[in-house]
């Protein structure tokens, strides 16, 4: 008996050993041999395997034609789990250092008078999606369009919602789409109506990566499909309107052994990054990208990945000054502004990477570098009298077919706002003013579940009140009071209902009247920006000190518009000095003093000439005397 048990255990170990070793074994692509040439990726397409089975190769004549799995196809040679722990995929990992705060996902719903920052990373000022009742699947519905997959996309099973658990069988998980970055084919489809983003919007997570490839086309949707739908089996239904996802591969893509060639590169073209990381400034109500210059580094010939780089672990460098405290990427010290342009290595010079010019900063007192980040003078739009409205890919779905092109669509972002970042230096930030419904217990504000909010707001904010372009609805204080009253039954014990918006906190007083107050919870959400970097000849201070040091300087006294859902509060603004935490009177006085700076220079130089003249005169007299003594004529 014991002998039989021992033999069984041994057999289990022998059978399971390859499985254990497969997870930890180094794969072919994990350690490149050092060649800068890109290996040819002529590889089989592998489908998502059934539990416990090996993945099947996809052939063009298969029935049904399955989407290929990135995890299996790319994962055959590259350790998917190591890659999956990288920065683009690890937002939901609580063990990852969140680093410097960045752009959050913004849940914007005009009908609910809401624009609220969400993030799985614990960035101050953001809320976790589940606080608003946003499950991982709902999160993907809202934002998956411009997510590279993996991360929360493979955590869809972590939900208490039984409907979503069942739906997961239909949609599949959203695996990492390696092609989103690494495919250099001009036919990569991320944003078109049949591309990656729209597959995610339709709930076709399993098919999304396939749809992005230029040799595949995906039609149909998982929305409305019954629970018994099996993507591996033919779908039969009486409802002829249902069209499950279907893949069509280009037959010419399959070559020898039905392998497919992928145009893969480590040197990722900037268009790949731009799909998720584009900015569009709005000038006079219009967005015209041809009028805006790209980042100077791009124009100089660099790619995004020259600076934002990583190895197999995909722990990308973000490029901020103190990133070494948050990341163990060995290239972090030489991948920031200072690292490339000013870095001083201990054993060898490190500045000048990629021919980065070493700036002289002639005429700029060194105290500026203690108080200002590099981006303060070099990044973003040239400061104007008031902040510039802007749209971004992730906030406004720009680059995705059918995205609202209106410059007024929510969320309302603006920039540059100069404020202190974590290292105490002033840096340009993007800003938006959160607006949301919440309950307040003591000093803590907790946003309400969006379903509850929408239920209440739909009774007050009618269709007629909604903006045709996605802007704020026509909202009055009376409307806010009414909605708060409707939300009252949902209030927790000991809490009071509030509405945060336009920098203020609104609540009903004991008499039932709406009162507003300032609150730290109503503070705007800001995140530092670094792009687009302007050329050196367009940096602040390049002309003279008065680029910043004048009494009407946008850098110090520009107006930051306060975005409020309330029409009555529209048009308000805050002076930049408030965000910079500078005393207004002193800053004005110091700026005013620069009027007299040329006089100071003239007086000082003339005085120096006079003093030098006196010294020279009497030194020459002394020299004359000495010569006389030496020659004996004295």
């Amino acid at each position: 008996m014991k002998k039989g048990l021992a033999i069984n255990v041994l057999l289990c170990l022998i059978v399971l050993a390859p499985a254990f070793s497969a997870d930890t074994a180094e794969k072919l692509g994990d350690n490149p041999d050092g060649s800068r040439a890109t290996p040819l990726h002529l590889i089989p397409l592998l489908a998502e395997p059934l539990t416990g089975k090996e993945p099947d190769q996809i052939h063009p004549g298969d029935e049904p034609v399955l989407p290929f799995s990135m995890k299996q196809t790319c994962g055959a040679c590259h350790s998917y789990d190591i890659i999956g722990a990288g920065w683009h995929f690890n937002a939901a990992d609580p063990n990852v250092d969140p680093g410097r705060k960045g752009q959050p996902w913004i849940l914007a719903d005009a009908a609910a008078a809401t624009q609220i920052p969400l993030s799985y990373r614990p960035w101050p000022g953001t809320f976790r999606p589940e606080q608003l009742g946003v499950t991982p699947m709902k999160f993907l519905e809202l934002f998956g369009r411009q997510m590279p997959g993996g991360g929360i996309g493979e955590m869809l099973h972590k939900t208490d919602n039984p409907e979503e658990i069942l739906r997961l069988n239909i949609t599949g998980q959203l695996e990492i789409n390696c092609q989103a970055c690494h495919d250099t084919s001009p036919g990569l489809d991320m944003g078109s109506a049949a591309g990656y983003a729209w597959q995610i919007i339709r709930g076709n997570y399993r098919w999304a990566a396939t749809a992005s490839c230029d040799f595949a086309y995906v039609t149909g949707t998982t929305q409305g499909l019954p629970e018994y739908y099996d993507y591996m089996a033919p779908f039969i239904s009486e409802n002829t309107k249902l069209r499950p996802p279907a893949v069509e591969y280009s037959k010419s893509a399959f070559g020898h052994n039905d392998w497919v060639r992928f145009d893969i590169s480590r040197d990722i073209p900037r268009q790949r990054c731009y799909f998720c990381h584009s900015n569009a400034d709005i000038h006079k109500g219009q967005i015209e990208q041809w009028k805006a210059d790209e980042d100077i580094h791009i124009k100089a010939g660099l790619t995004c990945v020259d600076c934002h780089t990583h190895g197999l672990e995909h722990n990308i460098t973000r490029g901020y000054a103190w990133e070494s405290c948050d990341s163990n990427n060995p290239l972090v010290p030489v991948s920031s502004c200072e690292g490339c342009h000013l870095g001083e290595g201990s054993s060898k010079p490190v500045r000048g990477r990629f021919a980065a010019p070493v700036p002289k900063h002639a005429g700029i007192p060194p105290v500026h570098f203690d108080k200002l980040s590099c981006t303060a003078c070099h990044s973003g739009a040239w400061p104007a009298a008031s902040t510039i409205h802007t749209k971004t890919s992730r906030a406004h779905a720009i680059g995705v077919a059918g995205a609202n092109p209106s410059p007024d669509v929510l969320p309302h972002l603006s920039y540059p706002v100069f404020a202190r970042q974590r290292d105490g230096k002033l840096a340009p930030h993007k800003i938006f003013w959160p607006a949301y419904w919440a309950e307040m217990t003591g000093d803590t504000v907790t946003p309400l579940n969006m379903d509850i909010v929408k239920d209440a707001t739909s009774k007050v904010i009618t269709r007629d009140a909604l903006s045709k372009v996605g802007d704020w609805p026509d909202l009055t204080q009376h409307d806010i009071a009414k909605i708060l009253s409707l939300l009252a039954p949902n209030m927790s014990e000991g809490a009071r209902l509030v509405y945060i918006g336009g920098g203020k906190l609104y609540s009903l007083d004991e008499a039932g009247k709406l009162a507003s107050a300032r609150s730290e919870w109503a503070a705007p959400y800001m995140w530092p920006i670094a792009h687009d970097v302007r050329p050196a000849a367009q940096s602040l201070g390049v002309r003279n000190c008065q680029d910043c040091h004048t009494t009407d300087s946008p850098f110090l006294f520009g107006l930051v518009s306060v975005d409020s859902p309330l029409k009555t509060a529209a048009g308000t603004s805050v002076e930049m000095v408030k965000f910079e935490d500078l005393p207004r009177f002193y800053t004005k006085a110091f700026a005013w003093s620069f009027i007299f700076r040329p006089w100071l220079k003239v007086v000082a130089i003339l005085s120096s000439f006079v003093i030098a003249g006196v010294l020279l005169l009497y030194t020459l007299r002394a020299l004359w005397f000495v010569t006389k003594v030496v020659v004996g004529k004295d």
Partner: protein, 224 residues
């Protein structure tokens, strides 16, 4: 480093002044008279005397009035510059900024102009034209032109004057040149260093000059 040097310098100069005063101080009876009341106030009387001695003798002419006015203005600016320049850096341990910098910049221009005027007005009477170093004349086998012996602190005062003038050039130029787009960050830091150290030595010589001028006047008064 600068903080240490500055503190050492000020302590050394003040200690030297105090030591010199203790050793060679004129008797209070000679200075204030034997019939003075409340002798316990003698230190206060001495302080007031020092201050009044800073109000240099005024000659009844436009140039005389200008001399006194410019000197007092320079003295006031020197105090302001010293306080606004050294207190943040040496006492608080921070770079000069905010209102300290604002006031420092205002006083700086006025001080530079006053120094230039004083240089023109006082250069001639600070010439080294007497038999200051008899030993040197012996070595050079030279007969001095004037047999008038120098006053007790005259040579020290004149040397301090010329050192103050000479140091004022790097003080002014290091600050002003940094305002032009001529020097990059490395040399901006060097200019700041030059400004700090030349200002420190100028301040020390100025303190010494003021003390020597005051003690010289006191001794002249008691000698009478």
């Amino acid at each position: 480093m600068f903080r240490t040097v500055a503190i050492t310098g000020f302590v050394a100069v003040i200690a030297a002044i105090v030591l010199h005063f203790v050793i060679s101080r004129p008797k209070f009876d000679d200075v204030f008279g034997k019939d003075r009341a409340l002798r316990i106030l003698d230190p206060l009387r001495l302080l007031v005397l020092f201050v009044t001695l800073l109000f240099v003798e005024q000659k009844w002419s436009l140039v005389g009035a200008l001399r006194k006015l410019v000197f007092l203005l320079a003295l006031l600016c020197f105090v302001i510059l010293a306080v606004t320049g050294f207190v943040p850096r040496v006492v608080i341990g921070e770079a000069i900024s905010g209102w300290w910098l604002f006031i420092h910049a205002i006083a700086a221009g006025i001080f530079a102009a006053c120094l230039a005027i004083l240089a023109v007005l006082w250069a001639d009477e600070n010439r080294l034209d007497k038999n200051y170093w008899p030993w040197l004349n012996r070595i050079l086998n030279r007969q001095p032109k004037s047999e008038t012996p120098p006053e007790k602190y005259e040579i020290k005062l004149k040397i301090c004057f010329w050192l103050i003038l000479a140091l004022s050039l790097p003080v002014i130029l290091s600050a002003i040149l940094s305002m032009f787009p001529l020097f990059g960050t490395h040399w901006q830091e060097n200019l700041l260093l030059i400004h700090r150290y030349s200002t420190l030595f100028l301040s020390l010589f100025a303190i010494a000059y003021l003390y020597l001028a005051a003690i010289s006047e006191i001794e002249k008064t008691t000698a009478k």
